[in-house]
């Protein structure tokens, strides 16, 4: 029996927007903890991808909860690798991020093709998606509280603004960033799992740039949790709009590729129009 509300196209549109926003939201929060601690992180894409892959692999064999755990675990590994490379080996943060993306892409391709049992059904069992909807909207609020009201949050901001001065008062940037990147792994892991939860099927490169769009949303939001959340919803809105209008008879013949390009175009325009005013954490990239 259908409730009138649920077949309302606007409601439908909102629902689609929210689902599309989930990986962006969680990815952006993962980027937030990292960058607010001073670690540039463009590797969100790779982390989400490997999480999605691990989730579908483990889910197939051991069920949805194992899938969730495996996804988060995989993302944490890549996130901590990023910590190791940037903090211990002192490698340029952007380079390390690109390497993480390479590991995510190559690793997920390798593992999936090697281990996925194609004789069984194409999709792995997943937890219901409303769980992730709740998480994805609670996390930004939680981060906001964390930054404003806790000791850990203050230490994070101190390290992200000036690690040397933080050292003077006895804070250890190395440790703070470890915890920060651990959180990045958890959030991006959740993001990757949320991404694959929709259909249960993992495909090569299924993130398709969402990690970068999440980062762009973070930048647009001035590295603050609530504005970043709004930016993510904004981006998701355009993606949803594309799905809605594609193939619509009333509109002129616009090729599907043009529609696919919209989220990326919007990102570029956003970065061109608004950057220069927002302030990045002052210590981004400092050892």
């Amino acid at each position: 029996m259908h409730n009138d509300l649920f077949s309302n196209p606007i409601f439908n549109f909102l629902a689609v927007t929210i689902v599309l926003a989930l990986p962006l939201l969680l990815g952006a929060m993962g980027g937030l903890t990292s960058e607010r601690s001073g670690v540039i992180n463009i590797g969100l894409e790779g982390m989400m991808l490997i999480a999605a892959c691990a989730c579908s692999l483990a889910g197939q064999k051991h069920g949805p909860i194992a899938g969730l755990a495996a996804g988060i675990f995989a993302a944490i590994i890549l996130a901590l690798l990023h910590w190791l490379m940037t903090q211990v080996y002192r490698i340029d943060h952007v380079i390390s991020g690109m390497a993480i993306n390479a590991f995510g892409a190559g690793g997920s391709n390798f593992l999936f093709n090697r281990f996925y049992d194609t004789t069984q059904s194409a999709s792995s069992p997943m937890l219901p998606i409303w769980i992730y909807k709740w998480i994805a909207f609670l996390v930004p609020i939680g981060m906001w509280i964390y930054l404003k009201k806790t000791r850990g949050g203050l230490h994070l901001m101190a390290v992200g603004n000036d690690p040397d001065k933080a050292r003077l008062v006895g804070i250890q940037p190395l440790k703070v960033r470890f915890v920060a990147l651990l959180a990045t792994g958890i959030f991006t892991g959740l993001g990757g799992v949320a991404l694959v939860t929709d259909t249960g099927i993992f495909t090569d490169d299924m993130t398709a740039g969402k990690g970068y769009i999440a980062l762009a949303a973070l930048i647009l939001g001035g590295w603050r949790p609530i504005p970043a959340m709004l930016a993510c919803i904004g981006f998701a809105f355009f993606s949803a709009l594309r799905l809605q209008l594609e193939g619509n008879q009333h509109l002129p013949q616009i090729p599907s590729e043009a529609w696919s390009s919209i989220p990326y175009l919007v990102t570029i325009i956003a970065l061109a129009g608004l950057l220069g005013k927002t302030k990045a954490p002052a210590g981004l990239g400092k050892p």
Binding site: A102, Y212, L271
Partner: protein, 331 residues
Amino acid sequence: MNWRLVALIVGSLALLAGAVMMAGASPAVALSTLFKGSLGSPQAISGTLRESTPLLIAGLAVFLSLRAGLFNIGVEGQLIVGACACSVIALRFPGPIGIILGTLGAMIAGALWALPAALIKAYRNGHEVITTIMLNNIAGYFTGYLVAGPIRAPGQQNTTTADITPSTHLPNVFNNGPLTVNIGIFVGIVLAILAALWLKRTVAGYELQTVGANSTAAKLAGIRTERVIVKAMLASGAIAGLGGAIQVLAYEGRFYLGFSPGYGFDGLGIALLAGGSAYGVIPAGFLFGVLAKGGVSLGIQQIPKGITVVVLGMAILIAAAIRYRKVKTVA
């Protein structure tokens, strides 16, 4: 060599060996397959040189941008639009004219594709990594649309343009039976040498590298950093476009959906491996060519191709770790 670096290299190799074994092959066999498949015969060597050509040029494009302090990850998209433009022009103007015009058109297309990212970085400080990656995606969609519709070869089911005439191909330099070497690879090598000389011996090259090394000092040194950034990105894009053109004119003879298997991304690895001098791009490009050609043979061994991307990541990290060692105070 410090122990940390050694740990990194050993760890990577161990991981690789483990992955190979996971895929059901032995690392020793995998390694020999790799080398046999890339260097073990005249055909293999021809194939490796062929693979190396676009890699070398893409690597050079990224290298140049890196020297200016920019991460041009957009080489992928710039190469594709360059190749697309070249094929369209070469079809329209067959023969040597087509080669010249096609190449020029490709370079312009590549530079144009880098322009938005260049401007946003120079004047809005928008991170070029994100903008260029976005442009990559759009390039894929845009050329995909073109090659499925307006420029598709008439009567073709596949998404591809028509083949260019044989007279529009770049000639082979060697044609000794199984060993064929196209002039394209030499174009790449010469380009790398020219770039190295330009960077070392011209004032403009010096100023570009200053911007990349310390943009604040560059300003005080009288350098107009915004202009240098834009020019560097445009040049980088043009070189990438050139790579696409060479790929069409020397080897492929046409443009099709899925033209690039990720040359742009590999370009970053090559640029990092090259170290501080453009000359280094040449051996780095060959190394990746070996990996690419040999990787095909590996695929026959049931090892998923994702592993070459993982190797790429490891190479990037190791190269970067070597670059960033600390300098001791002497005086």
